[in-house]
């Protein structure tokens, strides 16, 4: 076997991954972008409509705007509440105390459950007649404060978010914990000797030294918030009165319930374009820290 063959055969190691990945991820994604310029129900021939799907979504489709708004609310809530809780837990578990490993695993555990399972579990929590929330309120003679939770369009999205919080603290918490461990103890000790209190040393030393960790956490949280799907589908399916649709669930409804493939494709592309704002700097960061 010649040298040239040797050189080429190096690429064979990449080939299976490259072929499978390209054919089932990249190829279809590109085809979705193509489809988004057509009107198509999957049966009749495709009709080229140019940007009409996008124009209709942005100019006429109230449900699209609501889904987009819900997605953005979800991103903001995630960055504020889940991130803050995860950081608080991480700071707590960065201290030495007995049972630390147990507590850390305990709060991480829900992250290992499927979102569908979490959705079913929380649906039972919110059950107006026999769910534990209303039953507890009644048991405490606070019956006037009972709610219909996910059946109320005004609060349903937030109720789903509470379930997502219960599930989602684990991963950012672990990332923060790892980040905290890279902050040298000597520097924090030195600041203490210089008279810095715990709060000022946290903001002036710990946070700046964890810049990279924050970047990773924020990027992964935004990406997963933009994809939020299973948990919404499992708790409300987008209802009541379509109030909890996200881009992903609305894309599913348009494509697979109404077979408006062109519109569904356009929604997926919008979702992707918003995510790209995060994906590009994140990929650049991952490649650079190498």
């Amino acid at each position: 076997m010649g040298k040239k063959w040797n050189k080429i055969s190096n690429y064979f190691f990449l080939l299976p991954a490259f072929l499978i990945y390209t054919s089932v991820v990249i190829g279809p994604s590109l085809y979705t972008i193509y489809l988004s310029f057509f009107k198509w129900n999957g049966v009749k021939p495709k009709v080229l409509v140019g940007l009409k799907n996008y124009i209709n979504l942005f100019s006429k489709d109230k449900l699209f705007w609501l889904s987009l708004k819900n997605n953005l609310i979800w991103v903001v809530l995630t960055l504020v509440i889940i991130m803050a809780l995860a950081l608080a837990f991480a700071l707590l578990f960065n201290r030495e105390f007995k049972g630390r490993a147990f507590f850390r695993s305990y709060f991480y555990f829900p992250y290992t459950l499927s979102s569908i399972l979490v959705a079913i579990t929380w649906k039972k929590m919110y059950d107006p007649s026999i769910g534990i929330l209303n039953e507890s309120l009644r048991a405490l003679s606070l019956g006037d404060f009972t709610s219909t939770y996910t059946a109320n369009p005004n609060i349903a999205l937030y109720c789903i978010f509470v379930a997502a919080t219960w599930q989602g603290i684990g991963q950012p918490m672990i990332l923060f914990l790892t980040g905290l461990q890279t902050v040298p103890k000597e520097i924090v000790e030195a600041a203490k000797i210089d008279g810095a209190g715990p709060i000022s040393s946290f903001f002036l030393i710990t946070i700046p030294m964890m810049k990279e960790t924050f970047f990773i956490v924020i990027a992964t949280l935004i990406i997963s918030s933009m994809k939020v799907y299973d948990i919404v589908l499992g708790i409300t399916g987008g209802g009541p009165a379509n109030s909890t649709h996200t881009l992903a669930t609305y894309m599913r409804a348009q494509s697979f319930l109404y077979t408006h493939y062109g519109i569904g494709a356009a929604i997926a592309v919008v979702m992707f374009l918003i995510m790209l704002l995060i994906i590009v700097p994140y990929i650049y960061f991952l490649a650079r820290t190498d």
Binding site: M271, M275, D290
Partner: protein
């Protein structure tokens, strides 16, 4: 005097810490407690207006048996296990070959190729979903595990290559050189030297990928619609659809579904809690 005061202060703050943690532990357990309390009652108990916190005269374990058999949860778990136990090693094998090429073989544009794979880690499955569904139905891959494996392997390459590449890079290249002098081929270097050293990274990837596959919903719901072939998340959705009026049966099903994940987590928790950091940072 000062010393005693300090110790006293420390003990108080410790007490607050544990009380606070205990409160959080209780709050975090409520969803599980809720479904457990619901699952041990019969339908008749509900119709008689029994509250959530009242215990029935006779614990209705039958719900668990019914969820397992009539609700087919046993079958969904068997399917989920089968899918994951084949997909995960297959995926890791393919990812390891790619990561090996990207770290140790003379290849052009390595970074660019790596970035290309990384992109797939972040793309939403929704973006590829319509063409996959259409192509799969044309190729008769709907309701085949081959179709499911293929999509899972494709969507898993980004993360897997990132993790393995990160670890392979830490293995000194002198080892390869020595093996080459001993006459080892590239495959032998990968399988006899690199993979054994990378065991910690591989076991973490294995266990994370296993649970990820076990929990996957979006692709499974598009590719598998035959009840006999469904995995746990799609099966659970089915189960909800079939029994949405039977709250106690549903709760028993949800409770059962937690158990295998809990067992895997308890055995391998180190892989999650300590392994993830290296994985994400690459």
């Amino acid at each position: 005097m000062k010393n005693i005061n300090l110790r006293y202060k420390k003990n108080i703050s410790k007490a607050f810490l544990y009380i606070g943690l205990l409160v959080l532990v209780v709050i975090w357990s409520i969803p599980i407690l809720n479904i457990f309390l619901t699952s041990i009652k019969s339908k008749a108990d509900y119709f008689s207006g029994m509250g959530l916190f009242e215990l029935p005269d006779k614990i209705h374990w039958q719900n668990y048996i019914d969820a397992w058999q009539i609700g087919r949860l046993g079958m969904y778990m068997k399917n989920g296990f089968f899918v994951a136990i084949i997909k995960v090693p297959l995926g890791i094998f393919i990812e390891a070959m790619a990561a090996f090429a990207l770290t140790r073989l003379p290849i052009k544009k390595k970074t660019l190729i790596f970035l290309y794979f990384l992109l797939g880690m972040m793309l939403p499955a929704q973006l590829a979903l319509i063409p996959i569904t259409i192509a799969y139905s044309k190729l008769h891959l709907i309701n085949t595990y081959f179709g499911l494996f293929y999509a899972y392997v494709g969507f898993g390459t980004g993360f897997g290559i990132m993790v393995l590449r990160g670890f392979f890079k830490t293995i000194p290249s002198e080892l390869d050189d020595a093996a080459k002098i001993d006459g080892c081929s590239r495959f032998q270097i990968l399988f006899r030297i690199i993979l054994p050293i990378a065991k910690p990274a591989i076991s973490t990837l294995f266990i994370m990928d296993f649970l990820g596959t076990w929990n996957e919903y979006v692709l499974a719901s598009a590719i598998i619609n035959d009840n006999k072939m469904k995995t746990v998340p799609t099966g659970l959705m089915n189960f909800v659809g079939e029994n949405f009026t039977d709250t106690s049966l549903l709760s028993a099903g949800a409770f059962i579904s937690i158990i295998p994940v809990l067992i895997v987590f308890l055995i391998f928790q180190k892989n999650f809690v300590e392994g993830l950091s290296g994985a994400v940072k690459g």
